[in-house]
Subunit: 426 residues, 2 copies
């Protein structure tokens, strides 16, 4: 973990660089798979699942019996926790629901916005070692709150053809409509283009490996996709009164995700900065499941920035645009207006990141790697779309049609001009 | 224009197909340009502008004097119309502004959503024959309503190094902050990666040719982009009382845009369908600036679908998801709930598409080619982003921390579990 005295000349871009370049061989492999699925449908899907997931399937869709069996295999205590988390997630996301609105700016004129759910959405859920039922809840529940009619989950099977039972249990709790045993680029291709058994969707969301991300980028346009997730980060702004044990623990909860995860402390106190570094390495040496991953993340991408004051701390944080921003400072809510770019903001010593990852209700699918500069947490709005509403009476149009015709002709579009003029020809 | 008796077996996908396949040679040329701009900055920009736009520039940024000169060259009557349109556009888009909100679901718990503008946005405006000041207003004003601090316009210069004066006048009326003489993939690369004189942006919006669209797709992830625009369409749902002259004129106002534009009538009346076809060809033979384009669009992609009833008309329209939907039927507002997928909905005989293209206020940058199934008109929401807000008191966290720890451990993430547990260690 590097301690840096931050100033205006600090080269953040160089310091925080961890993005890998796109690889042409991966793109070519993905294009090949997409072409195969478009051409051969189910037989291509079974072929790639055998070749890549080492699993011979007889059917792609997970049956009701398989789902029930998985549900019964999960401890009741964990089911209870997932159900309570689901209630919190649903309750928060219901606040995001927008309704159709209209208004009358002038007599005879009605304008507005018609808001409707996307009809059919695909949800990618990674398999293998990454077994995150919390992500199933976070990605699925806002879609169902939005009113998505067909929510289709895909997740790669193990070699035994099975899917992790907590993943299936979470899908059942959330209310997912269809589940298919498919992973990788072939799953994305199936969602975008369909097959004999899978109807194509309108949008694909959810995290995945580089093959999944590349495939999502390729099918973008045919369907919508959510932001491509990169490595994630937590940035903690701490003043001299912050508890170094809490700060270190929260940095490590990010670091254990991924060797490329970035745990950052920004503090006005050099003393605290040094205490946190010491505490991070002390906690790593305790018994951590994912000690090696956490250590590599901390060593390679862990930073403590010492700043002059909190204004500079927020300015640095806005430049980094962290996925998770924790404020371990006095009266954090008073500093809300200083936050320009962040995925989620965790206020005060009793709002650690895992509270948001699992339980509080706001989404844990957040913009990573600085994309909080232009994107938002996954939400109900990602599963809805808008249509403008326009209605003019004869009088209202008559008042303005000549201006419209003049504007249209200035662009050389006289069929546009004539379309309004013909309404008022004698 | 083809008349089709629609039924369940009508193969819409085959019938309405007009998308071209992506071309690898274009992608390679675009990648080369992006690489050049990343490496050589301004000198690459000047080089490509000379090579591709046949224009030798000495400076990239449009000066205040050039803007004023252009403004003075536009007729006052047209400036007045653009100013009035700008007021309407601003007024409609102000209704879309969302505010930060918080609420307290439980004692000691505050959740919410912090809403902020994207800081710096690039706006691509095509040059050459396509001279659309209305698009400058439509793309720029929502950004300024959102509170974007730096709105940067790029548009290719003519061979004389100049930009169309109405484009510059529209930019001045809208309030664009910076303008650069740049087009094609090099403009997109400059916006995404910056150069010595251009600071990189966080998001790029606006239409462009295949090179621009391909470049936008390539830089997606580094920056956000709006939906890639494809060929556009109007779909008119008409009953037997609709005026065939109006319907034909509105179909042609779409057809004159592009040989790939798709003018579609869906009607319950075979008589009306035949009248409209006759009227379309009669109006084409009148004096139209863009007669050849309109005729090719109508011949190749013009369709009249005869349906059994209005329910079938809406179901067909929802399947096509038109950019523009006109309802030439009785009490169109009563049918709003039947519209699932459409960019903008034009209600009744005095709400023709050009009213929305130029003047009424709702955006004319709309999802094309069926993408209304998953995307929305350009709006203030495209220029803003959200951050979740979470705040728990000690008591509130104490009530739930064990559940969070259990959930985290079920996913194998015990540093997550420890981050909450350490808060309550004795």
């Amino acid at each position: 973990m590097k301690l840096i005295n931050y100033n205006k000349n600090t080269n953040l871009i160089k310091l925080l660089k961890r993005n890998e370049e796109e690889q042409d061989d991966i793109r070519n492999a993905v294009l090949e798979i997409i072409k195969g699925v478009k051409k051969d449908g189910n037989s291509a899907l079974l072929y790639y699942t055998k070749a890549l997931d080492k699993c011979e399937l007889t059917h792609l869709q997970v049956t009701e019996e398989e789902i029930q069996e998985a549900y019964d295999a999960v401890p009741e205590s964990l089911l209870d926790i997932m159900r309570e988390a689901a209630i919190n997630i649903r309750s928060f996301h219901e606040k995001q629901l927008e309704k159709t609105w209209t208004y009358a700016p002038l007599p005879g004129v009605i304008l507005g916005q018609h808001i409707t759910p996307i009809e059919r959405v695909g949800l990618y859920v990674p398999g293998g070692k990454a077994n995150y039922p919390s992500t199933v809840l976070m990605d699925a529940i806002p879609a169902l709150v939005a009113g998505v009619q067909s929510l289709v989950m895909v997740t790669p099977p193990g070699r035994d053809g099975k899917i992790n039972p907590t993943i299936l249990a979470a899908a059942k709790i959330a209310g997912v409509h269809e589940i298919y045993k498919l992973g990788g680029a072939q799953a994305i291709a199936a969602l975008a283009y369909g097959s004999e058994t899978i109807k194509p969707v309108n949008k694909i969301v959810g995290p995945g490996n580089i093959y999944v991300a590349t495939a999502k980028k390729e099918v973008f346009g045919k369907v919508d996709i959510d932001m491509i997730a990169g490595p994630s980060e937590v940035l903690i702004i701490a003043d001299e009164n912050a508890n170094p044990v809490y700060a270190a623990a929260d940095l490590l909860s990010q670091a254990e995700h991924d060797e490329l995860a970035m745990p950052i402390l920004v503090t006005t106190s050099q003393v605290l900065g040094e205490q946190v570094i010491e505490e991070v390495y002390r906690q790593i040496e305790e018994d951590l499941n994912r000690k090696l991953i956490a250590k590599k993340s901390v060593d390679d991408f862990g930073f403590v920035f010492i700043v002059k004051n909190l204004d500079e701390a927020f300015s640095l944080s806005n430049e980094i645009a962290p996925e998770h921003l924790e404020l371990l400072i006095e009266n954090p809510m008073n500093s809300l207006e200083k936050v320009k770019n962040a995925g989620a903001i965790f206020m005060g010593p009793y709002t650690p990141e895992p509270l948001g990852d699992y339980f509080a209700g706001p989404n844990h699918t957040l913009p990573t790697s600085g994309t909080a500069k232009f994107s938002s947490p996954l939400g109900v709005y990602d599963y809805m779309k808008k249509s403008s509403i326009l209605s003019y009476s004869q009088d209202a149009l008559e008042n303005v049609y000549e201006k419209i015709a003049t504007f249209a002709r200035s662009e050389g579009l006289d069929a546009h001009a004539k379309a309004v003029e013909r309404r008022f020809e004698k």
